[in-house]
Amino acid sequence: MAPLLQVQDLTVRFHTKDGVVQAVTGVSYTMEQGDILGLVGESGSGKSVSSMAMLRLIPEPPGRIEGGRVLFEGRDLLQIPRRQMHTVRGHEIGVIFQDPMTSLNPVMPIGRQISEALEVNLGMDRRAAEQETIQVLERVGIPQAAQRIGDYPHQFSGGMRQRVMIAMAISCRPKLLIADEPTTALDVTIQAQIVDLVKRLQEELGMAVIWITHDLGVIARLAKRVNVMYAGTLVETAPIKTLFSNPAHPYTLGLLGSLPSLDTTAEQDLAYIEGAPPDMINLPPGCPFWPRCGFRTRICTEQIPELFDAGDRHQSACWHIDAVQAADAPSVREREANA
């Protein structure tokens, strides 16, 4: 069966007054129907941009898609004229955004915001759309949905608002749902509810999900496979259990090491990844992670590593996979002190 989504060598740059931002460079991955992919990375890693670029939701004047193909059910989304993208958005691919307060129109009733999508994408008439809106709101767990369709976003709590956004995104039964950090702005307890909601919806509707986050704990509940991004490139991809048990990239190792666990004692220092996030306009030569890496050698500053095989369905873009898979996470200093 043909894969649902094939991203091939996607490259996106932003041309600003201060220079060219290499937001996304050469990202490639594939998804089947019903896959749940976690896209992990820090701010500026390109995780959001790479996903928004697929739907051409990047502001085009500073931003520009400069290479690659995005095959959705065989069709290259990047070749479709922007004016026709509306047929894909909403209907085939739905999006949930991070901040539901600003992502919902504050002066339009939420019921209208949902039925609007139904009318435009599925050609429903007003009444049918309204009925369907109530159904989908109930599905995402909004109590008294029928009474609340006339309410405005500010009348809902944060978690409820996010449910409304989810309802809006799935209302037209898309095949792929992109969730761009939907729980980052919410309380921890609400986070868990939203993750469970998406999980349930995914099982019921069979759609594929890309869940973008910087929080490893969140995707542990949900994803089957994880892509780790750093400085605009894909640095590691693995099934979820493998990633947690046997990371093959120093960045992933650092991320996992920095998670405090229940076993950490009060005397132990919190581990962290040294250094600062990269300057996306002036990336260092070679592998973008070497300024913060404990495994670096000279080749790291000279050649950019490809994605090498690191196990069953497991790849990592690193010259020292063996060392990483064998080790704990040493800091840069420790490593060089030992060398």
Binding site: E306, L307, F308, Q315, A317
Partner: protein, 326 residues
Amino acid sequence: MTGEALRATSANDPQQPTPPDPPAADLAEAASQPFALPEGYDAETKYASFWVGAWRRFRRNRLAMFGLVFASLIVLIAIFAPVLTPYDYDKIDMMNTLQGPTAAHPFGTDELGRDILTRIFYGARPMLLVGILTGVLGLAIGVPIGVLAGYLGGIFDWLVTRLIDMFSALPWYLIVLYLVMVLSPSLENLILAMVITGWVGSCRLMRGLTFSIREQDYIEAARALGIPRWRVIVFHVLPQAAPLLLWGFASGIPTAVFAEAGLSFLGMGVRPPRPSWGRMLSDSGYYWQIWPHMIIFPAAMITLSVLAFQGIADGLRKALDVSENI
């Protein structure tokens, strides 16, 4: 580059060849060479200071730079007017009235034979005086009151708010007009009237800014350390306000220029025979309909001056990235 990473996706896609194995032996040798910082790589990204960055942004703005150049020109003309022209501004020459531009009188003469170019030069003085003095004095009064009102609150703030409301109830030019009339028209009284209505603007700005800063945690921390209130105001609140105040001062100037021109036009400004561009517009009576040069030059100078100062103010706003709603 990582174009070959395509191969790495083959684990998900059975149609493509398997991914490369970990680096081979020849690379392993290179890989084992110890780490060395590459040549010419600068780890620290340099950030310019706030003011340097602001100046750069200002420089890129063409209107703002035009404004700066033109305004400087006007200032120089105003200062050096006596040196720049052989005529006196009130030298009446009834033999040469209402002449168009000639070599002897590049801007022509008015109905009393006075050289218009000279009057334009001298006319810059009242305009600049009003513009700058209003701004400076307005700030000198408005800022302290605004900061105190914002910081102390209570009755003092209530009083200040009432005052601000009162002076905002009418368009400022009406209040200025009334004040000038009551005090009898002259340049000094015009400046006084402008200051009386002008301090309100900077006061309001500072009050708002002080309110928002006051709530910040670092202010609470400073007070907890025992730092006295006045020190908090001078060393913590005021420096934050510098960009806003600079912009406030700059944006008051085009208003004042317009005020001087308009009020002189209505006869409320400088007393004759001292020239003022606004006054030259009204003095021309009906003569200008036949001899348009009498109003072309003052009108152009007024427009260009307002444009120049407005350009500077706008350029500052963009360069300093200030917004009125704090």
